[in-house]
């Protein structure tokens, strides 16, 4: 069976060169990397706004580009939905006509897979249909843009940092809709982002780009816990992602209890039904390492594990290193000072306890759940 997305392209643009190859079968593939790493160039190549110098692009086994065989399908025949950073709604058309724009151009004689009512419903834009785009808020515009792309009945949906131009409140407004799309719309999504939080919350597969090259690719929980991917390991947002299953609620203290492979995790707040799967992210800088179980300490979550690897110090005299710890199969990353590392004699194979305060784990867990199994 062919992959949903199979890309192997080369494109030179002045001093920058993109040379990226990856395959993905994920429902939501995140293209992750800092600005200037070539994420947008890569999605533009997939969408057909930029033509690659060499290589090929396949979506669902259909060849969109194969320079060696001289195939270059123009953008309007690719059946790829594109949600840009800015909504780019047509100002002279109402919301309804914006949404239906792609329908005029969809091939006749093929049944439409995207349903208007259902899409409008998922995105919560039913009340906006007769408004002009100019009268919408930023978050509403972006939801309409997502709906417009979906209703063109695409085989693949590209989203290029669709939340970048929105403030935090608007971001939180849109994220649940993107989760719903990922789980219900049946269209594979490629999501460009430089935010670890968004990637961790949304994606099933991550492709990490740096300076135009793919430096890591794989399942989200694996990739976000690896310390050899420089973009993630070196960044201030380094952390690990754990899959957790809700097993109960402590109503007296307002805590949600979840089981992870590393051990029991208590999360602040009462949310998600028992049996729901969560994805939880723990920042490397929030983890405390000790050689013995800590006694009489306020932090509620402690995991026993074995040190797998230590990141090299970035430079002689750099104050901190990242430590990768295998806790029952989950990989946690802890950021400690080089001095502590030496005092504890941290080395691969050494048994340690990783402790984290419950209140440090709430950022992602609060709203992020994939629904009850």
């Amino acid at each position: 069976m062919s992959a949903v997305l199979d890309v192997d392209v080369v494109r030179r643009q002045g001093a920058f060169s993109l040379n990226a190859a990856f395959r993905s079968d994920g429902r939501l593939t995140a293209l992750f990397g800092r600005s200037g790493s070539g994420k947008t160039t890569l999605v533009n190549v997939i969408a057909g706004l930029i033509r690659p110098d060499h290589g090929r692009v396949l979506v669902d086994g259909r060849v969109l580009v194969d320079r060696e065989r001289g195939i270059l399908i123009p953008k309007h025949r690719r059946r790829i939905g594109y949600v840009f950073q800015e909504a780019r709604l047509f100002p002279h058309l109402s919301v309804r006509r914006n949404l239906l724009f792609g329908r005029w151009f969809a091939p006749r004689g093929e049944p439409m897979r995207a349903d208007f009512e259902k899409t409008v419903d998922i995105l919560g834009i039913g009340a906006l249909l007769d408004r002009a785009p100019g009268a919408l808020s930023g978050g509403e515009k972006q939801r309409v843009a997502i709906g417009r792309a979906l209703l063109s009945d695409p085989r693949l949906l590209l989203m290029d940092e669709p939340l970048a131009s929105l403030d935090d409140a608007r971001k939180l407004e849109i994220l649940p809709y993107i989760e719903l799309l990922r789980d219900q719309a049946g269209v594979p999504i490629v999501y460009v982002s430089h935010s670890v939080a968004e990637v961790a919350r949304l994606s099933t597969v991550v492709v990490v780009l740096d300076e135009g090259k793919v430096v890591a690719a794989g399942a989200t929980s694996d990739i976000l816990s690896r310390i050899d991917a420089p973009v993630i390991g070196g960044g201030p947002e380094a952390g690990s992602v754990l899959e957790a299953e809700v097993i109960g609620h402590d109503r007296a203290f307002g805590l949600t209890q979840a089981r992870t492979r590393a051990g029991l995790l208590q999360l602040p707040g009462l949310f998600a039904a028992v049996g729901a799967t969560l994805r939880v992210r723990i920042l490397a800088s929030d983890l405390l390492l000790s050689l013995n179980p800590l006694q009489q300490v306020s932090a509620l979550n402690s995991f026993r594990g074995v040190v797998r690897a230590l990141s090299p110090r970035l430079a002689a005299g750099a104050p901190s290193i990242d430590v990768q710890i295998d806790c029952g199969g989950e990989l946690l990353i802890a950021r400690v000072t080089a001095k502590s590392s030496e005092l504890l004699a941290l080395a691969p194979g050494r048994e340690v306890y990783a402790t984290v305060k419950s209140v440090s784990v709430d950022s992602l867990a609060g709203a992020s759940y994939e629904g009850a199994r």
Partner: protein, 231 residues
Amino acid sequence: MTGWLSPEEWTAVRLSLLVATTAMIASLPFGVLVAWLLARGRFWGKSALDTLVHLPLIMPPVVTGYLLLIGFGRRGPIGAFLAEHFGIVLSFRWTGAALACAVMGFPLLVRAVRLSIEAVDRKLEDAAGALGASPVWVFFVVTLPLCLPGVLAGMILCFAKAMGEFGATITFVSNIPGETQTLPSAIYTFTQIPGGEGGALRLTLVSIAISMAALLASEWMARLIGRKIAV
């Protein structure tokens, strides 16, 4: 009203309106096409096309009129061809006056439309393309509606230029009452004959009224469209 203007004067007014309207409408599709080519196209000879379009704006109108006479006159290469194959005669006919006015108004039309096409956000065109619209459709459903105020401005400029065109017209199709005598030619004729001041003044007032009406109409339409496409 008919009593106010003499029949000859009325003829000149009617003819001017006919010539200017014909010139405006006939040059519109070509003007939009050339404007689009200049705004969005990348091809060899683009600056040559740009120069050619703008020539009538900077050349003396008499020179343009004379070139038209040479080219489109009954014995001119294009004029002879048109007369022989299509039975279209332009020299010394009102259609010739319309051609002269269209050529003179063309650069103004193209300039206005080109500027407004350049002002249309290409990102919107890319978005339309990604939604499945071919380049031709993108032009008709996104670019053109968004640059409509500019197209309108160009049309009015072209119309106004055609209403006032004198040099090229009189050189190409002369000054024949009832056939090629437009408002400016008629005013000029009145100033050349004794006792013609009254007629010249009346036609001048008519000219001013038509120009102002055209301007007001375009303002009103532009505002109507602008309100609809305000971002």
